[in-house]
């Protein structure tokens, strides 16, 4: 047992020199993009984000990157690492990349603001275009429902996988169609559109078709699968898009889906005593 503990300690104090080549673009200093090379003594267990932070703190304070949570939740640190879009905070340098040289570039298919910081405006705009929220014909139900909307566990499973998107933008950087077609809605927005369109509480399928059902929408996806390979959360955008194609086709052939009804409060049931009421709302509607 003591041997295991010792080797554990040894592994985490040994360092390995890894060369990091970082893409540099500083419009105010040097508008010509180039690569800077740094040698970093990497400890086993370090992620690429740890190494980039080491570079900023010890080697070159002008290196710019975007990061926040450091645990694969916020999606800020997505960058191209050794040819693939990944989250820097979830990419192990020694055990995962297994390379003496790590090349870091900003996410492809986005304009570069500085160094490895992309301008994610195209992602956010396309995301907003697909109206990623519950839409109802009855606006009272949409804005202020007076009860819960029915949904079975099986109906939840239909879209739950696709609701784990953290908007890191890696899928758009991986998509070969996004690179060639500026107007293509892209895997992130298409997936979110599907996620809401098959939510039984939603009634906005036809409204979203305006953005989805055309040559720059769902039909421009050719199932290369790169987006799903790049997705760090297992959302599988390529899968959602293919299911969306099937759903659009089915609806064109007459499939109709009624949105979930509001659950009514049972009339003959009396509230038991000693059950506390919910606290009053702190925000007035």
């Amino acid at each position: 047992m003591s041997g295991t503990t010792d080797s554990y300690k040894t592994n985490f104090t040994e360092t390995k020199d890894i060369v990091f080549k970082i893409f540099r673009y500083e419009p105010d200093v040097n508008p010509k993009p180039h690569f800077d090379t740094f040698t970093v003594p990497v400890v086993k267990g370090w992620t690429v984000l740890d190494a980039v932070m080491y570079i900023k703190e010890n080697l070159d304070s002008t290196v710019s990157y975007r990061a926040s949570c450091r645990m694969g939740i916020c999606g800020s640190c997505a960058m191209e690492i050794n040819g693939k879009p990944r989250l820097a905070c979830q990419t192990q340098v020694i055990s995962e990349l297994r390379s003496k040289e790590v090349v870091i570039k900003p996410l492809a298919n986005y304009p570069v603001l500085r160094d490895v910081v992309p301008d994610l405006t195209p992602l956010i705009e396309k995301h907003a275009d697909v109206r990623p929220y519950i839409l109802r014909k009855d606006k009272k139900v949409e804005v202020n429902p007076k009860g819960e909307l029915y949904q079975t566990p099986d109906q939840l499973e239909e879209y739950l996988q696709f609701s784990y998107c953290i908007k890191c933008g890696a899928c758009l950087a991986a998509c070969p169609v996004t690179g060639a077609d500026v107007k293509f809605i892209g895997p992130q927005a298409l997936t979110q559109s599907y996620r809401y369109s098959v939510d039984t509480r939603d009634d906005g399928f036809k409204l979203r078709l305006e953005v989805m059902d055309h040559s720059h929408g769902v039909w421009h996806c050719h199932f290369a699968g790169a987006c799903s390979e790049a997705c760090p959360k297992g959302v599988d955008p390529a899968f959602a898009i293919q299911l969306f194609k099937r759903e659009i086709t089915a609806r064109k052939f007459g499939k109709e889906v009624e949105p979930a009804r509001l659950a009514r409060q049972p009339a003959d049931v009396k509230r038991r005593e000693n059950i506390p009421y919910a606290p009053e709302k702190t925000v007035k509607q």
Binding site: K84, Y110, E157, Q161, S228, G234, D236, F239, A240, Q242
Partner: protein, 149 residues
């Protein structure tokens, strides 16, 4: 004192056509996507040539014989076989795409639990079967093209 501009000056970083033509470190399906496009464009190019060449019949027997003479060499024969290869690949990969693009063989959504498995990975065996079928068709075609004639 040095001043810094607050104007957003971004660097374009769109991959363009080079982006779809280079598969990089991605998986099998990413490369099939490239080959499917190249095969499709080759078939389209052949179709245009085919219409042009057969259309020479309108200009009489002499024009027809002249154009047929110019496309009868060894290189055109090899080109014809390459077209057959493109058609075989495009057809087999096309069947895979039709079945998967309508979600018929991809299964149902699952909660993402690490290690994640994409729908493409779930049907990887089927993808390989279709590619092996394509290679068998190409081999049989090659036998017919080069050894039977």
């Amino acid at each position: 004192m040095k001043t810094v501009s607050l104007e957003k000056r971004t660097l374009p970083h769109r991959l363009g056509i080079g982006g779809w033509a280079y598969g990089g470190r991605y998986g099998l399906e990413r490369y099939l996507f490239i080959l499917h496009r190249i095969a499709g464009l080759s078939i389209l190019l052949y179709f245009i040539l085919h219409i042009f060449i057969t259309g020479q019949k309108i200009n009489g027997k002499q024009a027809w014989d002249a154009v047929m003479g110019s496309v009868g060499g060894t290189w055109f024969y090899i080109g014809e076989y390459l077209l057959f290869v493109a058609v075989a690949f495009h057809a087999m990969n096309g069947i895979r795409l039709i079945l998967s693009e309508f979600g018929w063989i991809l299964g149902k959504p699952k909660r993402p639990i690490y290690p994640y498995q994409s729908a493409n990975m779930r049907i990887r065996v089927f993808t390989w079967i279709m590619m092996i079928l394509a290679v068998i068709i190409m081999a049989v075609g090659g036998f017919d093209f080069f050894l039977m004639h």
